[in-house]
């Protein structure tokens, strides 16, 4: 399930911090992200790999550096959920009102 993959990719606080940093500051290299995250470069690379497989970040090579950027659009399924529930509850409220009229 898509929301599930998004949640799993963001379950780890370090990964979430990396994603938030990329969302806020735009494209960054692994080295910059490592300097700011307080974990080792291999660990950062591993986290980026998980985010990338979930479609949360994109990478491109320039020279010897790999640059990563956030893909906020990947969060759309979560936003869709909120929209879905808004419609859902409004619809159910109407049904509840219908029921109450019939009850007594």
């Amino acid at each position: 399930m898509k929301t599930d993959a998004i949640f799993k990719s963001l379950a780890d606080p370090t990964r979430r911090a990396i994603f938030e940093r990329l969302s806020r500051n735009g494209e960054q290299t692994v080295r910059t992200l490592t300097d700011e995250s307080g974990v080792s470069q291999p660990a950062v690379s591993k986290h980026l790999g998980v985010l990338k497989r979930a479609g949360m970040v994109r990478s491109r090579h320039r020279g010897r550096q790999t640059h990563y950027s956030a893909q906020p659009r990947a969060l759309a399924p979560l936003v869709d959920w909120m929209k879905y529930y808004s419609r859902f509850w409004n619809d159910r409220f109407d049904k509840l009102e219908d029921l109450l009229k019939r009850m007594d």
């Binding site: 399930m1 799993k8 906020p72 659009r73 759309a76 979560l78 936003v79 509850w89 409004n90 159910r92």
Partner: protein, 139 residues
């Protein structure tokens, strides 16, 4: 009133019926089925139950719930988990001159609280709040 929000969803409506009657509609299984979904709800704190609707592609139609709190004719809360997404639904009934103010709030959207996410709750609330801004910048 019902604008989609990532943090919580609130619907509030004054209905021309007494709280006692609305309470029955919210807590009696056969009545809940009439307006919400088929269920095995029991008005007992800690009771685990499911809402069941027709399965659709990518969704089995099942919502896993647990009664978190209830105060007859006033308050009812249950957890609401589906497809890896968890939230809490709170119902509040307040008597008014013309009937009852019914308030439904669904909040705390986040991943299902299995072990992998324990301790991350605060971070999630914050993250879902930030999400609103991230998404606003999308279009």
């Amino acid at each position: 009133m019902d604008t989609p929000a990532t943090r919580s969803l609130v619907i509030e409506k004054e209905l021309p019926h007494p709280p006692e009657k609305i309470w029955r509609a919210l807590t009696q299984g056969s009545l809940i089925k009439d307006w919400l979904m088929d269920n095995d709800f029991e008005p007992v704190a800690g009771h685990k139950f499911t809402f069941r609707s027709t399965p659709v592609p990518n969704w089995n139609g099942i919502i896993d719930c647990e009664v978190l709190a209830l105060e007859p004719n006033k308050k009812l809360s249950y957890s609401w988990g589906s497809m890896g997404m968890a939230s809490v639904v709170d119902w509040t009934l307040s008597a008014t001159a013309r009937g009852t103010l019914v308030r439904m709030e669904q909040s705390g959207f986040g991943p299902d609280q299995d072990a992998a996410y324990k301790g991350a709750t605060w971070g999630w609330t914050k993250f879902m709040g930030n999400l609103e801004r991230v998404v606003a910048g999308m279009e």
